[in-house]
């Protein structure tokens, strides 16, 4: 019965519904897109207006011109960039061999790798910092007489806090893992490696001449994501008492609101540029292969 009635109904129903439905759908879709566009574009445009519009003097570009002479700007930016470079080097040096090993010869380790590389997503960064700061406080309390004390002091060197690099490597693991996994999945690692080894290439040679050139896109996206993460990271740095770029922005916001917003816009545009390059590179690779 259920099969019978419809065969009759559509004849009467469809011609009436056809012209009606698309238009209703289009109106609904237009409203959704319009509201979304308003919601997502307004803060960007108004914050730009905020930086160039001084209530007392009208239009001014001072907020942008003052950035470079502001105290701490260069220092904090350099610190952030240095941390980013160190993090990228360490995270790639750790992850790439591990992922190759899992693909080539220890597939049983794969679940372990997946858990290890997802954990940082599950554990909120702030709880991670809480743990780290506890460990760092152990230093003077329990370890003052042991060699570990020197390590704990060295890791907290204010000029280049290695403890931040350690934390950022952990935080970046999920992103790097996924980027490299996608990259390795797109090439036939085993055949390439075996062919190179059969031709007498050493392992370092295989890595430098075979794996890394083939993995360019994956490595680039892993590096970009890590760079964006480190340049925008606030929680860990703030709670451990260091002043890289994002912490500096908050520090100056008290005295110069317009400039802090101007710097925010800059850092945002920079992050977007990175991510846009990334996504277009990813698209090109996908359409190419």
């Amino acid at each position: 019965m259920a099969a019978l009635t419809p065969t009759v109904l559509p004849d009467a129903g469809t011609p009436a519904a056809r012209p009606g439905r698309p238009r209703r759908v289009r109106v609904w879709r237009g409203v959704v897109l319009l509201v979304a566009a308003l919601y997502f574009l307004t803060p960007l445009l108004t914050s730009f207006v905020f930086t160039v519009n001084d209530p007392a003097r009208g239009f001014t570009l001072d907020a942008y011109l003052e950035i470079f002479s502001a105290e701490g700007f260069v220092q904090s930016l350099l610190l952030s960039l240095g941390l980013a470079v160190a993090t990228i080097v360490v995270v790639l040096a750790l992850t790439l061999p591990a992922m190759l090993a899992v693909r080539l010869s220890a597939p049983r380790l794969r679940p372990v790798m997946e858990v290890v590389c997802t954990l940082p997503l599950v554990v909120p960064p702030i709880t991670f910092v809480a743990g780290i700061s506890t460990v760092l406080r152990w230093g003077p309390d329990y370890l003052a007489t042991t060699p570990f004390y020197q390590t704990i002091i060295a890791v907290q060197n204010p000029a280049f806090p290695a403890v931040l690099v350690i934390a950022y490597v952990v935080l970046a693991l999920p992103f790097v893992y996924r980027a490299l996994d996608a990259g390795l999945g797109a090439m036939d690692v085993r055949t390439l490696v075996e062919a190179a080894r059969n031709c007498g290439a050493s392992w370092p040679h295989v890595m430098l001449r075979v794996i890394i050139p083939n993995l360019r896109t994956g490595l680039a996206s892993a590096s970009f994501l890590t760079l964006a993460l480190v340049l925008g990271e606030y929680t860990v740095a703030r709670l451990l008492g260091y002043q890289p770029f994002p912490v500096w922005i908050v520090t100056i916001s008290g005295s110069n609101a317009a400039m802090s917003v101007a710097v925010s816009i800059f850092s945002l545009l920079f992050a977007w540029l990175l991510l846009l390059i990334l996504s277009t590179a990813g698209n090109r690779q996908r359409s190419g292969s």
């Binding site: 108004t46 061999p97 290890v116 954990l119 350690i166 994002p246 916001s253 917003v261 991510l275």
Partner: protein
Amino acid sequence: MAETHSAAPAGLPLNTKVREGGSRPRSKGWTGALPLLVFVGLAFGIPTVALLGGAFTADGAPSTANLTASLKGAYLTALLGSVKLSAVVAVAGAVVGTFLAQAVVTSRFRALREAVLTASGVLANFGGVPLAFAWTATLGNSGVLTRQLNLGDHGWNLYSFWGLALVYLYFSVPLMVLVVVPALDGLRPQWREAAQNNGASAWQFWRYVGIPVLTPSLLGGVVLLFGGAFAAYATAAAMVGTVVPLVTLQIADALTGNVLIGHENVALALSLDMIVVAGLVMAVYLPLQRRSARWLR
């Protein structure tokens, strides 16, 4: 590479012997993965042990006093506030994100789809300090829109629960779009045609075919949004200070001794509460993801 050998003094001699024997792959496998595992074990394991140890230690003796304290008074309010905010953001973000994704997926304009997806990829990562300042400049007490439209007189306050929810949606909705677009793409047109041929209305199609197929992805998205909003600290700290009670802000205050000295261990207990909540939520997510993967091939 050098760390590999120093990190595995016990395992190495054995491995080299095996290597001569010919089964090289297995030994190489272990040594390659070892640095990462050792690193994570140390960098992640030691703080975790410290956190657990601290959370269960009060006045130098093992006790659960910190945990009880972390579930009382202002701390409990903060924890519940965080859960409530994250739940509101997760559900609202999921609904809005799904509608936006559907609008994009059904659109005939390829360029629109590409633009929205790229923008979502960018905006989903746009949390933290810049987001807080962009919104402060827009709708804060001296924000452009607040002054232009005199929103202050109408009782508008960005530094409140709903203000924070509005801001969190800025990175939650794009994340939902990214999660749900593949799922919506997986809804085959044939299913819709089959439903129509059998006389189903649009509502019946969604009620009996669309929503059930999408449910795992939608719930997975809700969980992801919840996790993101729950863990967010930078945005809230840069925007509201401590006006809105949130567990991340409480942990930060207790850790840095902002309000009361000597509450570090309560901060650790609060962190443990957070991990438990986040873990429970994730435990819902993983099986769901496996289920949705079955349909979306």
